[in-house]
């Protein structure tokens, strides 16, 4: 991981291998972005996640990208709960595609979000029968999914091969249907959407 990141011109300020040391490093060094594994010594349970959550409680908005062998909505919900941005939660598989992975790290460092597509599709599948998501058209769903992954309107337009204007139209329509006031900040937008999907209405101002 250190090699990979260095090859993309990241400067590694610390590499630690257990939970308490991680929390210590996060809080004292306050890196521009941290990449954290959920399972760490000494207990090999969710030490990494706990350290990340605790570090963000102490330093709100500290950008952290959490990696794991599996994604859980429960953890995603916990990570998103503070709604302060700069958070990512990805499957370790995503590291295989290093360009996209590094892209995600940069997005998180800039205060954006990077949620694993699996989290998003689980969320959408799980809640699809419920109001008001059921009012979305398939295309709007797709846009919402990409938005939740952390894509900007430009990126969405590229991925779906449509004009930016069309994407803007979709997003406006999504916000109207979901009863959310559109905001300029794309991250807040994503957080709002995810928070909404998780059943806790976020304040979008």
């Amino acid at each position: 991981m250190v090699q990979l990141l260095e090859s993309y011109d990241f400067e590694i300020v610390a590499a630690v291998d257990n939970g308490p040391a991680l929390l210590d490093a996060l809080v004292t060094l306050r890196p521009e972005v941290a990449v954290v594994d959920v399972r760490l010594p000494p207990t090999f349970t969710d030490e990494g996640l706990q350290a990340a959550l605790e570090a963000r409680r102490r330093c709100p908005g500290l950008p952290i990208l959490v990696l794991s062998q599996h994604v859980e909505q429960l953890y995603a919900k916990e990570l998103l709960a503070d709604a302060s941005g700069g958070i990512g939660y990805l499957l370790k598989d995503r590291v295989l595609n290093s360009d996209q992975f590094v892209d995600a790290i940069r997005r998180v460092a800039d205060g954006g979000t990077a949620m694993d597509p699996q989290v998003i599709s689980q969320l959408l599948a799980g809640r699809s029968r419920r109001e008001p998501l059921s009012t979305l058209t398939p295309r709007e769903r797709e846009v919402l999914k990409l938005m939740a992954e952390g894509c900007s309107n430009t990126a969405i337009a590229q991925r779906l091969i449509v004009s930016q204007g069309a994407v803007a139209k979709y997003t406006t329509s999504i916000f109207t249907k979901l009863d959310l006031t559109p905001a300029d900040d794309s991250n807040r937008r994503v957080l709002a959407v995810l928070a909404y999907l998780n059943g806790t209405r976020a304040d979008v101002s």
């Binding site: 939970g19 308490p20 929390l23 959920v38 399972r39 000494p42 207990t43 349970t45 969710d46 030490e47 996640l49 706990q50 350290a51 605790e54 794991s68 062998q69 599996h70 859980e72 909505q73 429960l74 919900k77 499957l91 370790k92 598989d93 295989l96 595609n97 689980q122 599948a125 799980g126 699809s128 029968r129 419920r130």
Partner: protein
């Protein structure tokens, strides 16, 4: 003590004595039935040598068990619960062979003989103990009626009447009689419940399972559940082996081949090599996905990382229907119990989604009195039956290996309530390092 409490206590004592007297009447009836059935059983057994007994015994025995059942029931109401000791009836064939088989299973069940001994003793014990409360009550009422003035009527008709040790001939004697009858009444109130409870203890010595029978039934349960565990585990291992063989292992071979081919093409045909490398990367992702699914089936990561409560919250979140989870489990269970409860609840939830036609469910999870109790309720159509679906039966069997139980109430039209109970110890919560 104020007046209200005193009245309340007296009222309760009176009603207890009355109930006991009622049960006493039933005990007297049971004594009479005991006599009749004792004779019937002895005759039926004796007639086995003539052949007719083979037909009679299986007819009489259920009646015997009815009466002993009544005595167990009465004992239970007197606060002495008695478990049923009979061996389960083996499957029997039709016709004469079936009758002989039934006869044999009745005669070889030690509980049958203990029942007979009970019948024999109950003819006396049940009669005496049952009659005692009734007699006391009748006698005290008689005394009160006499001393209230009825004695004068008796004397006028020329009968010399005694109540206890008092001749009822003058008012002072009548007052004495009244006092005696009050004492008898007090004895009735105080002693009746005890007398009936005494019969209950007597019944327990003969009608409850003997220590041997209890050990035998425990052994039967253990050997059944042990073979279940072995079967379930063997099936699981077989499934894991197959999944690894057909899944991850095959994928790794494919990846290796693609990498080999890419290496060969790298110099001469870089474009083809790149395609192969991308393929290999995608195959790695599929292999990882398959392993993830497999691991979830073996031991879900959330369960390992967070314990039962959060693992259940996680499946609730992923369920397509609304699932409310309330939990009070202050600690961790032993890993096997945790995993058993997790998979049982996960399967119950899957069942609800698949069959119940419900849109809401709730799971309540708590650890009380040395057992974990999970209550799952859904608002679906009901009509679930453990004896029909293999899924529910499977959950029952897996719980049984932990001496756990699954109780299902699912009336047609719903709601369905499933209660899972698993005796297990609770360990202190994992202390977070932060």
């Amino acid at each position: 003590m104020d007046v209200a409490t005193a009245t309340g206590l007296t009222g309760r004592a009176l009603s207890r004595a009355l109930y006991a007297t009622g049960r006493g009447v039933l005990l007297v009836a049971s004594a009479a039935l005991s006599l009749a059935l004792l004779v019937a059983t002895v005759l039926a057994t004796a007639f086995i040598s003539l052949g007719v007994g083979v037909l009679l015994l299986p007819l009489v025995t259920p009646l015997v068990r009815r009466v002993t059942g009544l005595c167990r029931d009465l004992a239970g109401r007197a606060g002495v619960p008695i478990a049923t000791p009979y061996l389960p009836a083996p499957p029997t064939e039709r016709g004469v062979v079936g009758w002989v088989q039934r006869c044999r299973s009745i005669l070889t069940d030690p509980a049958t003989w203990r029942d007979l001994l009970f019948l024999l003793l109950n003819v006396f014990v049940g009669f005496v103990l049952g009659l005692l409360p009734v007699t006391l009550l009748v006698y005290s009422v008689e005394g009160l009626v006499l001393s209230a003035g009825f004695w004068m009527l008796m004397r006028e008709s020329g009968v010399d009447f005694w109540y206890g040790f008092t001749p009822m001939d003058t008012w002072p004697h009548a007052v004495l009689g009244a006092l005696v009858s009050l004492v008898v009444f007090a004895i009735w109130v105080a002693a009746s419940p005890g007398v009936v409870a005494g019969h209950a203890y007597f019944a327990r010595t003969l009608l409850g399972p003997s220590e041997r029978a209890e050990i035998a039934s425990r052994m039967r349960h253990l050997s059944e559940t042990r073979s279940d565990v072995i079967n379930i585990q063997a099936t699981e291992l077989r499934r894991i082996e197959r999944d690894l063989h057909d899944g991850a292992q095959a994928r790794l071979v494919a990846i290796g081949m693609k990498l080999g081919a890419a290496t060969r093409q790298l110099r001469t045909n870089p474009d083809v090599a790149e395609t192969l490398l991308v393929d290999a990367r995608n195959a790695t992702a599929s292999a990882l996905e398959e392993l993830r699914c497999l691991i979830r089936g073996i031991h879900p990561p959330v369960l390992a990382e967070r314990g039962l409560e959060d693992a259940i919250r996680a499946i609730a979140l992923e369920s397509p229907i609304d699932v409310d989870v309330t939990a009070d489990v202050p600690g961790r269970l032993a890993a096997p119990a945790e995993s058993a409860v997790y998979f049982a609840l996960s399967e119950l939830l899957t069942n609800i989604v698949k069959h119940a036609n419900a849109d809401r469910a709730s799971i309540d999870l708590r650890h009380e009195d040395g057992a974990l109790r999970a209550v799952v309720i859904d608002n679906g159509q009901g009509g679930a039956d453990a004896s029909l679906g293999t899924g529910l039966r499977g959950i029952e069997r897996r719980c049984a290996t932990f001496d756990g139980t699954l109780v299902l109430s699912s009336p047609e039209g719903g709601p369905t309530v499933a209660i899972l109970e698993l005796p297990c110890a609770l360990y202190s919560p994992r202390t977070s390092s932060f």
